[in-house]
Amino acid sequence: MPGRKNLFNVGALVRGFSTTFHFFFVKKPTIEYPTVKKQHAPRFHGLHELRRYADGKERCIGCELCSIACPANAITVIGAENTPTDRLSPGERHAARYEIDELRCIFCGLCEEACPTDAIVLTPRFEMADYRRGAFVYAKDRLLVPPEAGVGSAPDERPNGIPSDLGMVGHVKSTVDIATGYDATNRGTILKDQRRGLAG
């Protein structure tokens, strides 16, 4: 009778008990997420950012190539002419509106590859949870690197894959960039306040 045989298989019992007892002492592989963050791969595809040139001008020229390349139709770009009084980018045109629906985005990185000026870049930033659906449509106020935060960095230039303004990933627990003292999480809010004339 097979049942009886298994019940008296003492060797199997001993093996089973020693296995569970062994794992009792093994170091647990769990990363305790909110307090400890995982070190992502250097070219991890996370939240986008729009970079600037060193003189503070936007790299984006509003060509809409990213929007065309996007397989998920997540990017909306509406370009506009630069005028002599209001030059946002070095070329003839700039992006008047630049919106990415992060809920539609599949983080494939094709926009990054399509961009002729290296303006749109995927960062390793991945914590975008929000309570409202509308909050996932990222416009220029949150995508564009604010002037005081530097220019943003191309993936190839990142030391260990971490962008210069980001301490969010890796085992660095602060979101404040050590070099500039700028808090990356407040980027969008700071910019909004600036537009309203609230920031000092």
Partner: protein, 334 residues
């Protein structure tokens, strides 16, 4: 006993003792639950509860609070009176056994609320009545899975209680008494686990079945019976069954310590200090609790026919043989 204590009526002393004991027992339950979750988690390569308080130490409080605020449901098909009564039968029987368990002792005797001279019989009768809680709960729920669970529980309890009693009678013969403190007293030289090793193993196995723990948890069997006898219960009523299950686990651990591992006696020689005795008792009982959790993480649930087969065709004959040999040995050399 000094004059101040002598003037207090006996019932008041017993009441105060019971209140303190209940508090201790319920706290022990709460932390044995956390202990189980932690140990199980570590054996399964998880960190276990660690969000509520340091090392999850406040997890039991969070669980209790959650349980209290859950909706208390009674199915339309249920027998309302028995449905509401059943959890209390389970809980009261589980708590009642602690009244006579001596947790420690010294030269002047054992420390328990009541030292009943038929102690072991009292414990077994209470745990047998506790089965009614489970059986009635399943029957009164008026739904099929709880009924199946309670039918299983009745059959399982009857078949395993026989072997359990048989395994304990060996100890009774050696000790010559059914009083728990007397049994511990007669283990000062050598623990009964040495002469009664067969009875000890049988007791351990049947105790797991008696408390409906894995791998003998066919009464609950969540993969086939949803939740077994407590499928329809929610909120605090489910909580009562939960408490009863863990208290039963603690009871059988205490009993195993008392009957086979020398109770509060240290490894060598008798103990004179009641506190050292208590530490020994708790350590031994905790060892059993750990073993139960270890067992749960290691072995899969038995199939029902194999459970019955094992109980009647293996455990009962071996327990009977052990009893006969013990009796003959005591009669010849004792």
């Amino acid at each position: 006993m000094n004059a101040a204590v002598a003037s207090v009526p006996l019932w008041l002393i017993v009441l105060i003792k019971s209140a303190i004991l209940l508090l201790v027992v319920i706290t022990t339950f709460a932390y044995s639950m956390l202990f189980e979750r932690k140990v199980m988690a570590w054996m399964q390569l998880r960190p276990g509860p660690n969000r509520v308080g340091p090392w999850g130490m406040l997890q039991p409080a969070a669980d209790a609070l959650k349980m209290m605020f859950k909706e208390d449901l009674t199915p339309n098909t249920a027998d309302p009176l028995i449905y509401r009564l059943a959890p209390f039968i389970s809980l009261i029987c589980a708590m009642g056994t602690f009244a006579i368990i001596p947790f420690t002792g010294d030269a002047s005797g054992a420390y328990s609320i009541g030292d009943v001279n038929a102690g072991i019989l009292f414990v077994f009768s209470l745990t047998s009545i506790g089965v009614y809680g489970i059986s009635l709960a399943g029957w009164a729920s008026g739904s099929k899975f709880p009924l199946l669970g309670s039918v299983r529980s009745t059959a399982q309890m009857i078949s395993y209680e026989l072997s359990m009693s048989m395994s304990v009678i060996g100890v009774l013969i050696l000790a010559g008494s059914t009083s728990l403190s007397a049994i511990v007293g007669s283990q000062q030289r050598v623990w009964f686990v040495v002469p009664q090793i067969v009875g000890f193993v049988i007791y351990i196995i049947t105790a797991v079945a008696e408390t409906n723990r894995a791998p003998f948890d066919l009464v609950e069997a969540e993969t086939e019976l949803v939740g077994g006898f407590h499928t329809e219960y929610s909120g605090l009523r489910f909580g009562l069954f939960f408490i009863a299950e863990y208290l039963n686990m603690i009871t059988v651990s205490c009993l195993a310590t008392l009957l086979f591992l020398g109770g509060w006696n240290p490894l060598f020689g008798p103990s004179d200090n009641a506190f050292i005795g208590l530490a020994w008792f708790v350590a031994k009982a905790a060892l059993f609790l750990f073993f139960y959790i270890w067992l749960r993480t290691t072995l899969p649930r038995l199939r029902y026919d194999r459970l019955m087969d094992f109980g009647w065709k293996v455990l009962l004959p071996v327990a009977t043989l052990n009893l006969v040999i013990t009796a003959v040995a005591v009669a010849v050399w004792g």
